[in-house]
Amino acid sequence: MAIKRRDFLGQMAAGSAIVTMPAFLPGCGVNQATQMATPTPENPFMTWFGVDEAVITRVMTELTANGADTADLYFQHQRTNNLSMEDGIVSRANSGISQGVGLRVVIGEQTGYAFTEDLTLESMLAAARTAAAIASGTGLVAPQAFNPKKTGDLYSIELPWADVGIDQKLPILKHVDAQARKGDPSIQKVSVNWSDSDDRVMIATLDGHLIMDHRPMTRLTAMVTATRDGETQSGYSNIAARQDFSWYTEERINNMVEEAVDRTLILFEAKRPPAGEMPVILAAGASGILLHEAIGHGMEADFNRKGTSIYSDMIGKKVAEPFVTIVDQGTIPKERGALNYDDEGNECGRTTMVENGVLRSYLHDSISSRQYKVGATGSGRRQSYQYAPMPRMTCTFMEDGPHTKDEIIASVDHGIIAETYTNGQVQIGAGDFTFYVKNGWLVEGGKITAPIKDVNIIGNGPEALKRISMVANDAKLDTGGWTCGKNGQQVPVSQGIPTVLVSTMTVGGENVS
């Protein structure tokens, strides 16, 4: 049976004056970028949320009734679809709609925040009054017109996920299952999870800008469980991006499945390395988790303006060898961490955190950029309309260096290669960070000798940066579905790195007596 989302939206619209299926054509709004263009009710985002310019002005007036340095309305409609397959059948689906508007007033370093899921004028005004209570000055004159910014094109897609039926996705899950089972006779269980979403945000700012962004996302995960001689092991792999259905080529899917199978089967041979300090080679790609934890979070400007990060007084200082350059860049097309505009309506860009070994720039939101008197870096992100934004990473990576992967491995007498990861964490003040290595390799006498598994690695951010002694020329971004959590807010991120040698870190393991 073919389920087309458009058909259902058609039904939904039948009884409603507000929701229609606006034609979200790629590049919509491009022509509205002219100065002083007046959005009309034809603006598809306004139509979607059932508001017009007069309503936004009215709510903004209420929101800034006691004064504000900045204020914004963050309208969001997110539709997610999940499908899962276990024991050979696709027998579970989940769909969700998350819709609302977040209202924020900022005065100095103070924030008032409220949201409502009821997009009637009455409810929005009530929420605006709640948020406005943070301030106690005189009211501002809200913009009478909101100038739409040019729509971004980092992840324009041909076909919105809303138009892809379950009948189209189901064969992909079946294929993943069959392909994984073919991987090895020891494979007993395969589960497959599919997820896609269309996220539409419209941000109206106090300085009269209107930002509209359609953010697609999809992720496919395979989990494999295998049993050999009474021993059971399980592993997984996933791929994620701001892409549409056409991204799922057979080759891409098969590669992902092969990874899941390989990562599982190797566990039968893998051992724990000896415990203690040793050289750690970070394999290219997912090892970008080191950058995320060891430096990325510590460079988020909210921690620094409060003085709570270990990097608070280190801008301009040498923190690493000259061949180390670390960047956070939201503008890499289609990446999971990509964003045309951040969640404050600032254009995303490229922020060099470490340039040739020198600490250069924090990741700013509007509060910190005002305090530091620097331009916004487009790093103000939020999980949803239910949260106030704060500085976050997007896609964090290290540039290529002068060495090669083979040179790096050959240089290590006794150490490990860390290859796949499940998670990481950092303690911002002390700078201690960890990441959990699911799969890796032992290196002895400059050669890879045996597989290892399940060890946590712990280090200290600035010390680990100093100890990056070799960087190869094989940088790549990981396509895994990484999600970053901070103060209870989850946002999608990407990361990448070339093969890197950290001369010493503390590796979890066993003490041989």
Binding site: G15, S16, V19, R92, E109, S234, T434, D454
Partner: protein
């Protein structure tokens, strides 16, 4: 409010039936949440929100799906529910799926769990600000404080559920929490930081704000001059405040789903003397004012006390209706409530004294565990135990092993269950644990 939510859940069931569902479950929820953040002498953030949502589970033609929305506009909601049924029809049939059997609704407890404190709803800005000011004052009572952020969180949550086979229920609870995070200047560019939060369903049970922030400051102060400890095998004493997290790792795969999917080291442990006889874990949903207390779980299964581990013997795991059917196990509940870990007789000081030497863990940092094998490796901070007392602070260390094996070496439990968690765990002492550091 709860009557409105009950109507909303009941209406959703009717609408799903009209759209072709054979059976359905609906939960309508509403919450009010207020958060005050106060930093270094000034109010930093006020967040005051009311949120609503509806979640449904649909059973149609031997198929199943679940859906949730925050868009409760009546016309669009009708379309959403119609679509939910249509999506269900597009899936493959699964004969193990069925709405919770009405037998499992029977004998729902009626005892008053006292989860609602009407004074929470009456809290005003002045009271929250008074707490903030008190927290802030106590948190910054030291010359090395760089910054302290204090917070007050309070709110009310209400959920009403209904099913096509006659279930109806409402659960409501309030909460009020206070706490502070403190950052101190340490050697070089390092900062020593820690925090402490405490709360309850009742305002009257929340500890004094000055005490809470004082604890946060004390916890940060003992982190000063922390260094990496030695690599080696020794005794591990886990502080009661962070013991819940380790118990959580142990229990992570103690679910019928994990067992049926072949991803649980608990699969072979049922009815076995799997762990140290010092370990008793009881899931108890009926604790008065308990943070995880309830009359029924998310599937409507009536709450009852469920022994998970008794003196080291595995008695039960968490079994929901679906995976129970698939795995041939009787449903218990698919969701933990409160977990009581039976305390021992000795204080932390006694246990440290008895250990003589080892590592006293006061917080975890990252790490993970493999639920299939039980292999784990966790980052930690804490202190060396020196001559039976809390010694120098250490960090940047890992502890590595296998959970199944670790809990056979649980040598002692303290008399000090930590109250501000749904897992009421005391100090735990393990022997021969692998640490990596210097």
């Amino acid at each position: 409010m709860s009557a409105d939510l009950q109507d909303r859940a009941a209406q959703a069931i009717e609408m799903l039936a009209a759209a072709g569902a054979d059976d359905a479950w609906a939960t309508a929820g509403q919450s009010r949440d207020v958060e005050f953040n106060y930093r270094d002498g000034a109010l930093e953030k006020v967040k005051d929100t009311t949120s609503q949502q509806l979640a449904v589970q649909v059973y149609a033609k031997g198929r199943y799906s679940s859906h949730q929305t925050t868009d409760l506009n009546p016309d669009r909601l009708a379309g959403f529910l119609k679509e939910a049924v249509a999506i269900t029809g597009a899936l493959e049939p699964d004969d193990q799926r069925a709405v919770t059997s009405a037998e499992l609704f029977a004998n729902r407890p009626e005892a008053d769990l006292d989860l609602v404190d009407s004074t929470v709803e009456a809290l005003d800005r002045d009271q929250r600000m008074a707490w903030c000011v008190e927290l802030d004052g106590a948190a910054r009572q030291h010359e090395r404080v760089i910054s302290a952020t204090s917070a007050v969180y309070d709110g009310t949550q209400t959920q009403a559920s209904a099913s096509s086979n006659g279930f109806s229920g409402v659960q409501e609870s309030t909460y009020c929490w206070l706490g502070a995070n403190v950052t101190l200047s340490d050697r070089g560019e390092r900062r020593a930081a820690d925090g402490f939060f405490a709360g309850s369903s009742h305002v009257g049970d929340v500890p004094d704000a000055g005490e809470v922030a004082g604890t946060a400051l004390k916890r940060a102060l003992v982190r000063l001059d922390s260094e990496k400890g030695p690599t080696g095998k020794t005794t591990m004493v886990v502080d009661s405040r962070v013991a819940a997290s380790l118990i959580g790792r142990l229990m992570g795969p103690a679910y019928a789903r994990s067992v049926q999917q072949g991803r649980s080291f608990w699969a072979d442990l049922i009815d076995q003397e799997a762990f140290s006889s010092k370990l008793t874990i009881i899931d108890d949903p009926l604790i008065v004012r308990g943070l995880g207390s309830r009359h029924y779980d998310s599937e409507g299964i009536s709450a009852k006390v469920l022994p998970i581990v008794e003196q080291g013997v595995v008695k039960n795991i968490y079994v929901d209706t679906y995976y129970g059917r698939k795995a041939g196990m009787t449903p218990t509940t698919g969701r933990p409530s409160n977990r009581r870990i039976d305390p021992g007789e000795h204080s932390l000081a006694d246990l440290l004294g008895a250990a003589g030497e080892g590592v006293y863990v006061t917080s975890w940092l990252g790490g993970n565990a493999d639920g299939t094998t039980g292999d784990f490796s966790l980052g930690l901070r804490g202190h060396m135990i020196e001559n039976g007392e809390i010694g120098r602070p250490v960090g940047e260390m890992n502890v590595t092993g296998n959970l199944k094996d670790l809990f056979t070496r649980l040598d002692a439990v303290g008399n000090d269950p930590y109250p501000y968690s749904t897992t009421l765990a005391p100090t735990l002492v393990f022997s021969d644990v692998d640490f990596s550091g210097v």
